[in-house]
Symmetry: C2
Subunit: 341 residues, 2 copies
DNA sequence: CTGAAAGCGCTAACAG
DNA sequence: CTGTTAGCGCTTTCAG
């Protein structure tokens, strides 16, 4: 591995001068600069960032902690963050926790050891203390939360209006004539899940429709729970005419349940979900969805993190950025055939 | 940020001793070890990996270059790699190139500057020289290619049997009675795409069916090209009865084309594709697919890379690992209604 | 404009 | 077992 010293020797200058041409930190005579650049080319030199990082106390690396890249919501989020970060030559180190707190803690530790400049995190559910996050902030590590708010933590967060988005969607279902609307929620340990449930309740309440307990089922945001709870709901004596599912993967499980039970969507039951699915335009049923701007969340979050890192926003109070959702009305919620009689 | 020195002071030992308890590099008396561990806890100390990396010339970071995390094939690949890497405490730095060679080159440069221990790369199409890869290897950087073989490069690669997988799929189509089978290929600059085309030709040849030029269309592995070429094929005077699409995203485009043209799948045209889609069990049509073990490719590739990094396999010739594909027969290729007469 | 030199935080001899 | 010390490759004063 060639070093700055070898470049200096080959170019016949001091290492300070080489450093100056690389970083543009001070003026260098044309003759010397050219010699240095030539040497860099010839020796295929790549300045050692780890040495540089050690010296300047900045690594140019950002950590990103998500639950599972395999969940279709996250790739967009990651891509948004990466695109924002890359503009400033930052690297993104991603990690999956599968929503396990232990992994999240461990990853924080690893990330801190590697001295990332900041971290973007979609927090795992179930931690009301978030000591590892507190500790990291105390140590001066900039952190921006995405999508989910950690309970009882004053921290930068970019998310969406879960309550409003859900309410709007339920209102759409009501406008379609549905009165018997069930919901599969996420884990209520997550504020995100509670907010969506709240949007559901608000919309029903405003329409003067009582909330029925047996039509509220708590899932865990994974496909399997959607499948299981979908089956349960379908076997209720009085089946709901519409079902709102609190995220996309659970909806996939619900679709399997529908198929197995021989219940057709949208003809026999209307369906709508939180989170859009990138491929829904290509398959059937086309699913009505409260679309989150996942790419924008990642992008905006990364931008905010960069600001915090640059200390441009020194001492500013934590920002709560809420991006708008978009209700995408598709066939799954509009093709219901009203039961006659 | 607390340093090893502060820990040493607080514990009343030398920094060498602290280093020894952290890394287990030498025996330390119980009393001292406990004092050190206590200090580490109290000060929330995280050993500075960048300083460590500089010293030991190993960063514990691996780069991964893919074309687009947003393409459903890649999340699995990344996850497999991450899981394999994490077992040895390695970090994964991912990058998207959007298949642009310029970005790939740039990323290689960035990765080398950061002194990653190795890189996993799904090469971008169109580079017959791959100078940046050659240079990196010359400098001693272990590299393992995934999925796509860079032309004219002797290098470790883990991929699948594209020819055999495709042939098997076409044979299935033939067995269903189809004689008029079209194909949408990937960019022929990619060996992967050529191999799949080859599998198609071989299967037809073996069945004594001539290959018709107008039924071979070259796409670019993106949805839009599938849409466009799908439309073209549908408007051929003699429409094929079956269509093989060389990857999943293009198939999504084809499905849109079908819907717009009012051609129903599988009733009016059979469909099969290379690459499985994770969600196809939840939607219609359920798509017949040559499934690649994406997770396994990532996992195996990372394992191989780790071996190369450890130098356990010093001087061994490049490995070509081919993982098996699995033909998943679903309704899109079995529900065709033979034209009578 | 240029070179010399201190030191970022850690590991790995080495001497005791 | 323990402490001391020389760098790893770079940036950044500070003189000149």
């Amino acid at each position: 591995m060639t070093t700055i010293k070898e470049i200096a020797q080959r170019a016949g200058v001091s290492i300070g001068t080489v450093s100056n041409v690389i970083n543009g930190t001070a003026a260098v005579s044309d003759r010397r600069r050219e010699r240095v650049q030539a040497a860099i080319q010839e020796l295929d030199y790549h300045p050692n960032q780890v040495a540089r990082s050690l010296k300047i106390r900045r690594t140019g690396m950002v950590g990103m902690i998500i639950s599972d890249i395999t969940n279709p919501f996250f790739p967009q989020l990651v891509r948004g963050a990466e695109d924002a970060l890359l503009k400033q030559q930052n690297l993104l180190i991603t990690f999956n926790t599968d929503d396990r707190l232990e992994r999240e803690r461990h990853i924080f530790s690893v990330l801190r050891a590697h001295r990332v400049d900041g971290v973007l995190v979609v927090v795992a559910p179930g931690d009301s203390q978030a000591v590892h996050i507190q500790d990291a902030r105390k140590a001066g590590l900039p952190i921006v939360c995405l999508d989910r708010v950690p309970p009882g933590l004053e921290i930068d967060i970019v998310s969406v209006d879960n309550v409003g988005g859900t309410r709007q969607c339920i209102e759409h279902l009501l406008a379609q004539g549905h009165r018997e609307i069930a919901i599969i929620t996420g884990p209520v340990a997550l504020e995100t899940a509670r907010e969506r449930l709240q949007g559901y309740s608000e919309a029903l309440g405003q329409a003067g429709i009582p909330v029925r307990k047996e039509w509220i089922r708590e899932g865990d945001f994974r496909a399997d729970s959607g499948y299981r709870l979908g089956k349960e709901l379908l076997s209720t004596p009085t089946r709901p005419t519409a079902l709102f599912v609190s995220n996309n993967t659970m909806t996939l499980g619900v679709l399997r349940a529908l198929e197995e039970c021989g219940v057709r969507c949208p003809e026999e039951i209307a369906l709508a979900m939180f989170d859009d699915l990138p491929l829904t335009d290509s398959f059937h049923p086309h699913l009505t969805a409260v679309a989150q701007p996942a790419y924008a969340i990642g992008y905006r979050g990364a931008e905010l993190l960069l600001e915090r890192i640059e200390k441009k926003s020194e001492g500013q109070p934590p920002l709560k950025i809420q991006l708008p959702t978009e209700l995408k009305i598709r066939e799954s919620s509009t093709g219901y055939l009203r039961r006659s009689g």
